[in-house]
Symmetry: D2
Subunit: 376 residues, 4 copies
Amino acid sequence: MQKNKNLKQQALSDIEHIQVHGRTTGNLSPLTLFWTGSAVEFNAKGAELWLELEVDYEVYEPWIGIVINGAVVSRQMLVAGRYWVCIFRGMNADAVKNVRIVKEVQAMSGDPGCSLQIHAVRFDGQFLPVEDKPYKLEFIGDSITSGEGTVGAKTEEDWIPMWFSALSNYAAMTAESLNADYRVISQSGWGVLTAWDNNPHCNLPDHYGQVCGLLSGPKNEALGAFRANDFDAWQPDVVIINLGTNDGSAFHSPEWSDQATGETRKQRLNEDGTYHAEDLKSFEEAVRSFLAKLRKNNKKAHLVWAYGMLGIPLMPAIYRAVDAYVNETGDKRVSVFQLPDMTEEAIGSRSHPGAAAHEKASKELTGYIREILRQG
Amino acid sequence: MQKNKNLKQQALSDIEHIQVHGRTTGNLSPLTLFWTGSAVEFNAKGAELWLELEVDYEVYEPWIGIVINGAVVSRQMLVAGRYWVCIFRGMNADAVKNVRIVKEVQAMSGDPGCSLQIHAVRFDGQFLPVEDKPYKLEFIGDSITSGEGTVGAKTEEDWIPMWFSALSNYAAMTAESLNADYRVISQSGWGVLTAWDNNPHCNLPDHYGQVCGLLSGPKNEALGAFRANDFDAWQPDVVIINLGTNDGSAFHSPEWSDQATGETRKQRLNEDGTYHAEDLKSFEEAVRSFLAKLRKNNKKAHLVWAYGMLGIPLMPAIYRAVDAYVNETGDKRVSVFQLPDMTEEAIGSRSHPGAAAHEKASKELTGYIREILRQG
Amino acid sequence: MQKNKNLKQQALSDIEHIQVHGRTTGNLSPLTLFWTGSAVEFNAKGAELWLELEVDYEVYEPWIGIVINGAVVSRQMLVAGRYWVCIFRGMNADAVKNVRIVKEVQAMSGDPGCSLQIHAVRFDGQFLPVEDKPYKLEFIGDSITSGEGTVGAKTEEDWIPMWFSALSNYAAMTAESLNADYRVISQSGWGVLTAWDNNPHCNLPDHYGQVCGLLSGPKNEALGAFRANDFDAWQPDVVIINLGTNDGSAFHSPEWSDQATGETRKQRLNEDGTYHAEDLKSFEEAVRSFLAKLRKNNKKAHLVWAYGMLGIPLMPAIYRAVDAYVNETGDKRVSVFQLPDMTEEAIGSRSHPGAAAHEKASKELTGYIREILRQG
Amino acid sequence: MQKNKNLKQQALSDIEHIQVHGRTTGNLSPLTLFWTGSAVEFNAKGAELWLELEVDYEVYEPWIGIVINGAVVSRQMLVAGRYWVCIFRGMNADAVKNVRIVKEVQAMSGDPGCSLQIHAVRFDGQFLPVEDKPYKLEFIGDSITSGEGTVGAKTEEDWIPMWFSALSNYAAMTAESLNADYRVISQSGWGVLTAWDNNPHCNLPDHYGQVCGLLSGPKNEALGAFRANDFDAWQPDVVIINLGTNDGSAFHSPEWSDQATGETRKQRLNEDGTYHAEDLKSFEEAVRSFLAKLRKNNKKAHLVWAYGMLGIPLMPAIYRAVDAYVNETGDKRVSVFQLPDMTEEAIGSRSHPGAAAHEKASKELTGYIREILRQG
């Protein structure tokens, strides 16, 4: 191999023009990417670029995708270790490439040892400024928003990072269609009130205020995951909340119990199969209260509760909750949007929406948000 | 990271059940993959699998794609060195996965230092037999068949491996639709008579008899690239020859000259822009003669000259050449098929057919070959 | 022309096996078709079939479509007069054809002189029984459900019957996908509370109980349009109500006033552009009350409020109204479904959803109703 | 019905601005439409338009399609008689509508009594000039070009006019995409040498020089069908010849014999199922000779032999014949284009290409012809 003698190593923190996507602590020495869809972006005028990564996990390894000039060119598993990954080489040194290295897998609440960090680059050129896109979107969701099932054969059943994707995902597609920067806050199996298994601790709202509060353990604490998120630094135009699917499943799942504390929880069904009124009320209250928390932190954003890719059983409750919130606050910048149901042909792996389902959902959602942005 | 203590290292040559795709020397210690679409395939019953690769190049690095149970899950650049790549981990140890690791980039005639070898695996399970598919297809072609342009943004112009793909390619798509094993013999810029630039040495027929004769240099010689190919070991049902596009370009390109030898060559146009009769004749003779060589080595195959994804200016000549061959030999198992022209929307990178163009071509070609296979 | 001497004339009322679709008075001497999608259907074993029509109008002429074995073969304007129309000729006399002659245009509230009647047939064969389909659907709606805009160029602006179609229509498509018989009750410009221009008399609920109560005049009275509909004779499995689009427009339209009576009406906007609470309440009350009326007449049907092909501004109000109805009655067989918004490419004539928009809406609605029918 | 008192009757021959499509005798008193796709076209500024038709047949009735501002609004059977058909009514009198009334069914060689004539109009407005489109195309073909099978259910088997369409047809679609005027010369079952049943009289070339020479009988003679066509009056830019499909079938059909004269004919297969060389030669000679005849009559046209919607068994012979013609004449403005094969999903009625197959063929052919027109 011919060595490229022009490569110069530079700490990430020393790069003048770098765009970081997704919630972080702000630290670049190194940069920790927590959430799916998180990324570093460069406008790189040079022939060859490498990134120094540091990766660890106990169970679930991270993956990255590489996007050059808007096209996905690579997607790869990241094994544990500290090493260099080549992003591109042999390119025209005089042309500016827009490059994004994107975390393809969600923050892993089930693996306190999982981390992905970027230390430095080796580059033979010059980084130019990356401009903010005209809009900012934040997506909050569960496995659907984590892109679970968008990769892999229909028959796959293992719960592993390989089947997740940030790029083959309605959130990424919608942001691209609208020419928007975006962030994703999502966790497979979680809900707005409880997880699919009735675990009341697995809800997104409780952790919304922190950089990545759904993680746990001393390592993540050291990485700054539990620090307060700096909302002022990034105010979205639209927040899309795609939650409720696991809250719906909880009604059909067995009681959750914590063997340590004896705590139990169950969203109940009536004998006729309808939702128990009291528990449904709790769900609605969770929605209402999450909207209030979102508004507190996102002053100017339109809040869109977008729900339906795996059915709409809780839609009436969501509408009631939004009504309750609007009546209470007078806040008019909240709405509900039904996403198209996954069709038979669009099933991906793990019985989740596949890439085609995400494309369809994105197309509908894009139309809806475009109108919101147009009305300003 | 938790080490998987069940992983056992095994030389590739010690694995009982392994399927190798693409022309090789037969050597597994290590296995050298030359051509795009070449691959190793396993039916792997186990939780975690790694591959030990050895990679080198002076200019053009190889890439691989990973296909699990028929779905592409990864595509990554391979930098120089000898190292382990994780194919999957954390999967259900009791389930059998069909796994293919596929060379995404063509044999590189322009880089005598480029090589991709596989030495060994680390695996915690058991390899089961991989059955041959019911049909065998061989694709012979140029940049189109090498999948140049199927990855990357429309604006890309650099000639680099990143924009090539064996998987996002009509050959792979057609083989999959027909449930066939397949091999690819292809080189960007080359033709049946000359290259796009009139270089008469850059033709596929001259090198057809060797394992990978279009490579050069002592390293490739040592790797066995120039050995006679063992045709008896793999007899295709259909050979698809997608050549002529660069032969057509040669008429519009400047004269080629070899500064060392003073040799020159030019496929000429008449003043009215039509092809010079004599040079067209040479092209036809090259087609006719290649068909004879193909038949010699592929006794039972139907030979399909498939041409048209970038226009059909040489189609009449191809038909004449096929006629000449048929008249001379009485061989009836030869035909011509026009592939659909690339449309504006289907342009990929480097002005080449993009993935959508390959899908369309594959759909038409699949229909045509299915009928041939049906008639037996 | 060779006369077909085997043709025998038969009054409609003398035909043993005839299927009439759409609300009628039950009278077959002659049969009056009022609503769009109304039809006569035969299983006709014979070579040639004619229908004797009687048509009149002052302004808006009817159109019919002819469907043979499920395929639309003809669509034609019906001018005034009493005359014979040939449905098919020259066909294999021994083959049974399923034939439907379908009214393509809505009941015309704006033209008291408009009528379409069928008196008799001329046929050279035998009518065989037409079996009921396994499901029955009723669609209630406005211009969208009347198929306004599904025919004609995008530039068309005239309000004429030519641009309407019962066949190129989500209602027909959904019924076909679900293998269901269906009826349509629809009127362009009308709503559940008021018309688009705030006219409070142009609402569907007031006229739901009659055969075709939104018509007027002595002629329609004589035809039986104002008689009570015989609900017992045809009980749908699902009633789809696609109303609200014109109610939404009313908020943005000038006050309606009746110059004769001095009566006025206006659904008001607040200064900030939001809906006036009191008027929104009236709309919700109209929805709630219509649901009660629908339930009274359709004991076993699932009621689906399907809304959204031209935006969803009233969706929260619809959800509230349905909630109110459910809370009041305990009736659980009511739900709301959001139809996909018309995209730019799917605009038909008169700025209405075109055929492509209807196809998309039908696909989503079909999936939703299929699940309802599956659950029984 | 309110009579439109502004309607004024006018003989067709008295209309200043009228565009007639398709080969005719030039006579407008009345105008006889022979070929499928033949039409009268108006730019009509007025509210209501009627056409006086005179129709007759012994077996096969004509159908028409009505196209307003580019959109098909009606398609109807024409029964025997002389009567008025309303084209539109109730439209904005001040808007100009482009209106085409198109013959949907081919000239009927099997029914010497079949005719469609237009005598006069009733109109309440003004006809404005219709400009020629920038290009002229002529399509010559068989049942495919006659649109047989583009209407009706897959199960239909009767040979009747109902399943034919000029509008749901690759010829019309291609002309529209290229913004071209066009003519069609086509006959179901016919070939360039013989019909599908080996009848040597059923070939298009023999009748190409006459207005509509494939008809027969004294009535058609009186209508001028056998007069020499005035080629100078309409010189196409491109002639598309879609013939060969029935010539291919002839090889697989029984011998044809004329019981009256004892004449017989058979295109023979060899024992191994290949085409008999001599008979194949006859086919090629027919192609070559037809090209010469076409060139004689169409001096400036590019001649495109377009073949393949129902397979390509005769493609090599077509290429040879074109080569022979080019070698003999030096004429370079001739080429061959392979149309995409009909797929399973695109089958229409009578096992013929359905509308989807025509759309696909049109898309490919349009791309090919656009390039020819671009090169001028």
